[in-house]
């Protein structure tokens, strides 16, 4: 790939990312508008998002997207002017439009040179929206969005034509600022398709101050650049001129209003000249100017004080000039904050980050090796230096791993749309409550957790939450609550999906389980065991298989996906009150703080986050049948234990004099691990075991010690599960032997 092609490729990636972001903002704005239709700020946000998409798509020549977004933009613009009502139907159409743009983007990202044209039914709906108007259109109302001087070429109509209105102050020339280079520079960011130089204010030779400045300009710029780029052209000279910038599709009245800051010649002449200027530059048509002039005459004839052209035009259309001004100011502020945001973040390719983390992993191992040699060499200064290096490496490790963490709130936020759509489809009213959105987890996990979460959410909406009628009958508020929550807990991240619906239907589950032969008739199961039955493959108690869920392929796949991430899934349900599903995932993947223990001749690492305490195993243990497990009295608490020597070590391993018990916990469950030697904390770089060992339960990976020996990393959740396995139907995890 040549340098240019690579550049283009990168630019295209940026475009994809930015456009997806804009689509997200667009959707958010629309969802908010649904709740607050009168919020102009939100409406503007939606407009800006659509406008930005149109602009950048034009830059890459994606005509189909440009054309489609232009129509969408026109609808939003009409909404801003109050010509179209911000109705639920309109918003639904706009949301469909957003989805359509997303699928067009997908086509392009899959390699198509341009997306296929938008679906014609949707386009028809949008155009119908646009032509519907709250107030009747006057006969001569031209289509002012389609202003392109003297051209009806559709391609040209679509590229945005900005209107730039400049008035230079008297000191500009004197201070070395000549308008010419700035205006010439515009040609670099677009095409000047119309310009009028205003010399009305230039006095005759006898009176002119030759070094003063009396010039004004009205410029039509055909460009895909955005507002800040265009304004940026005049940044240096802003102190010596006033600049008004109007985006493509601005209303006639706005143009006219802006021209009202000249000196005051007799009204009629002035206005006529203004009108001419605007016509010559393509901002207005003759019709419009005549209409406004006629209205002005009419008012004058009626004896009313003739308003200025601008006032007149503004009242005719009932647009408040303050709104436009306020919007401009807001955009200004948004842009300045955006600029600071842009400098705060850097985009980094994920594989570069991974390489860095690998490197740090190697550094950790090398550092341990150095520390080992240092202690063997018996040089305290060397040891001290090696330890200092170790501390720094640890800090670097933590920093690098932090880079990969993203907030789960981003993923949670996507569910607003899902919940809205699905609730509507099923005729239910549901509020989505999100807490703990700032909880962080590894980027790779974020992507993999989205699907399971989606299924759980859909289940809740479909099966858990009742219709408003049913809820009313049950004495619950009509609006159901779906909550997404996330928090950290002892080295794991916990994600909860809960609803206040009808809970799991246990009799139904039991019946279905008996039917499928999972449970023997007459057998009694604890509630939790019953709940877990829904994770069996193909299990579904739904009487009606809806389009959304109930096909019975869901929960076991969800469970498997979670387990693939070394996570666990827990259910808690109360009939009539609701259901909570809890997902628990490990926080870090690559490097962990470990606790090194020795069992027999072998070394094992226990993840430090799960270690609660180390104690001496009491002499009187309640040893279980297989001598591998048993129970200890831990200060009055019953603690199950695993004797690792018998569980993991060779059969003839001799017991050493003093054993220790490492108490670990996973979630609420605690287990004691009886080991021979405690060897201290150890920074552990996780090296995955080969696929040969993938079915090994109880071992999560391996690592290389500073001495070069291999240590196996214990899989605490698996060990805990093994030790606390109940003797009823829940299956026991396969042990290592």
């Amino acid at each position: 790939m040549s340098g240019d092609e690579r550049l283009l490729e990168e630019a295209r990636d940026d475009y994809m990312q930015e456009t997806r972001q804009m689509l997200h903002q667009f959707e958010q704005a629309l969802l908010e508008l649904e709740k607050q239709p009168a919020d102009i700020e939100t409406l503007n946000a939606a407009f800006r998002a659509a406008h930005t998409i149109k602009g950048s798509s034009g830059l890459f020549g994606y005509r189909s997207i440009v054309e489609f977004t232009h129509a969408v933009e026109a609808v939003l613009d009409a909404m801003r002017d109050g010509k179209i009502e911000v109705s639920e139907a309109a918003i639904a159409t706009l949301l469909r439009a957003r989805d359509e743009v997303e699928s067009m983007l997908a086509e392009i990202s899959a390699g198509a040179p341009d997306a296929t044209a938008a679906e014609s039914g949707l386009v028809a709906d949008i155009l119908r929206l646009r032509s519907a108007s709250a107030k009747g259109d006057t006969a001569n109302e031209p289509d002012t969005e389609l202003i392109a001087v003297g051209s009806s070429d559709p391609a040209q109509r679509i590229r945005g034509i900005w209107h730039i209105s400049l008035r230079f102050g008297s000191e500009a020339l004197r201070n070395g600022f000549d308008p010419l280079p700035f205006i010439r520079y515009l040609e670099r960011i677009g095409e000047v398709c119309g310009i009028a130089t205003l010399v009305d204010r230039v006095p005759p030779l006898e009176k002119i101050d030759p070094e003063g400045c009396y010039l004004g300009f009205e410029i039509r710029l055909d460009t895909d650049a955005d507002r800040s780029t265009i304004e940026g052209v005049f940044e240096l000279v802003l102190g010596y001129c006033t600049l008004h910038l109007m985006p493509p599709g601005s209303k006639v009245e706005e143009y006219v209003r802006l021209l009202e800051d000249g000196p005051d010649p007799p009204a009629g002449e002035h206005n006529a000249r203004l009108g001419e200027v605007l016509v010559s530059v393509g901002a207005l048509t003759h019709n419009e100017v005549e209409r406004l002039l006629a209205r002005q005459d009419e008012l004058r004839r009626e004896g009313k004080a003739a308003p200025t052209f601008g006032e007149l035009a503004t009242t005719e259309a009932k647009t408040a000039p303050e709104i436009v001004q306020a919007a401009v100011e807001r955009q200004e502020r948004a842009r300045s904050t955006q600029r600071t945001d842009e400098t705060r973040f850097i985009r980094v390719p994920a594989d570069k980050l991974d390489r860095l983390i690998d490197l740090i992993g190697e550094l950790v191992i090398a550092g341990s090796g150095a520390r080992l040699i240092a202690s063997q060499a018996g040089s305290p200064r060397f040891l001290e230096a090696a330890q200092r290096i170790g501390t720094l490496v640890e800090a670097a490790r933590d920093g690098a791993l932090q880079l990969r963490m993203v907030q789960i709130g981003e993923t949670f936020g996507r569910f607003h749309r899902v919940v809205r759509d699905q609730a509507k489809a099923l005729g239910k009213e549901i509020d989505l409550v999100i807490t703990g959105g700032d909880t962080e987890l590894d980027k790779s996990m974020v992507e993999m957790i989205a699907d399971p979460l989606m299924h759980l959410v859909r289940n809740s909406i479909d099966h858990g939450l009742e219709t408003p009628l049913e809820r009313d009958a049950a004495g619950k508020p009509a609006r159901g609550k779906l909550a997404l929550n996330a928090f950290h807990d002892s080295g794991s991240i916990v994600i909860e999906v809960s609803d206040d619906g009808r809970g799991l239907d246990r009799p139904r589950i039991l019946a279905k389980a008996i039917e499928r032969g999972l449970v023997k008739p007459g057998e009694t199961l604890a509630d939790e065991a019953l709940d877990r039955l829904i994770f069996a493959p193909g299990f579904s108690t739904a009487s009606v298989v809806t389009d959304i869920s109930g096909r019975g392929v869901g929960m076991d796949v969800v469970k498997r996906n979670i387990e693939a991430l070394r996570g666990t899934l827990q259910l808690a349900s109360t009939p009539g009150k609701g259901t909570t599903t809890q997902i628990r995932l490990p926080l870090t993947l690559a490097i962990i703080d470990g606790f090194l223990v020795g069992v027999g001749d072998a070394n094992y690492i226990v993840p430090l986050e799960s270690v609660v305490e180390c104690i001496e195993p009491p002499a009187n243990r309640n040893v279980g049948r297989d001598s591998k497990t048993g129970y200890i009295d831990l200060r009055g608490e019953v603690l199950p234990y695993l004797d690792l020597r018998t569980l993991l070590g060779p059969a003839n391993a001799k017991s050493t004099a003093r054993q220790s018990t490492v108490v670990v916990r996973y979630g609420p469950a605690k287990v004691g691990l009886i080991v021979d030697r405690l060897l201290g904390e150890y920074q552990t770089v996780i090296k995955p075991l080969g696929s040969l060992f993938s079915s090994l339960r109880g071992i999560a990976g391996s690592t290389i010690l500073g001495s070069g020996d291999v240590a196996l990393i214990l899989d605490v959740p698996a060990l805990v599960a093994h030790a606390t396995a109940s003797s009823t139907t829940a299956r026991v995890a396969a042990t290592v032997d």
């Binding site: 000549d178 205006i183 310009i195 130089t197 010399v199 230039v202 005759p204 030779l205």
Partner: protein, 116 residues
């Protein structure tokens, strides 16, 4: 005043060769830099010409042209129009044409037409 060299520099801006030589109302040739640096001087000269009845100016010898120059042309037109008359700017050289083109003022100047 004699010209003092071709460099574009306020101190060395070339000066018009016809200052003070107003004899008739035929075509007057303007030369030198038509920029902010000579604006004051040019104003005086143009005013005198207009007062004397000159209505045609030959720009072929103009060497530089900026917004101040544009303003002077505008002021000249304004002065003439005050008397109900019009002025013509003829034989506009490249530098003038470019500026007029950028600013949409092509109608103000004629390019390459000889004196009428």
């Amino acid at each position: 005043m004699a010209g003092t060299g071709a460099k574009r520099n306020p101190a060395q801006a070339r000066r018009s060769g016809v200052h003070g030589d107003v004899v008739n109302s035929g075509v007057v040739t303007l030369d030198g830099d038509f920029t902010i640096y000579r604006a004051a001087e040019l104003r005086g000269m143009l005013a005198a010409h207009i007062a004397a009845g000159t209505r045609q100016f030959d720009l072929s010898a103009v060497t530089d042209f900026d917004s101040a120059g544009v303003q002077l042309l505008a002021a000249t037109r304004a002065s003439a129009s005050q008397k109900g008359e019009q002025v013509e700017f003829l034989n506009a050289p490249g530098c003038v044409q470019q500026v007029c083109s950028t600013l949409g003022l092509q109608a103000w100047v004629h390019c390459g037409r000889g004196a009428v």
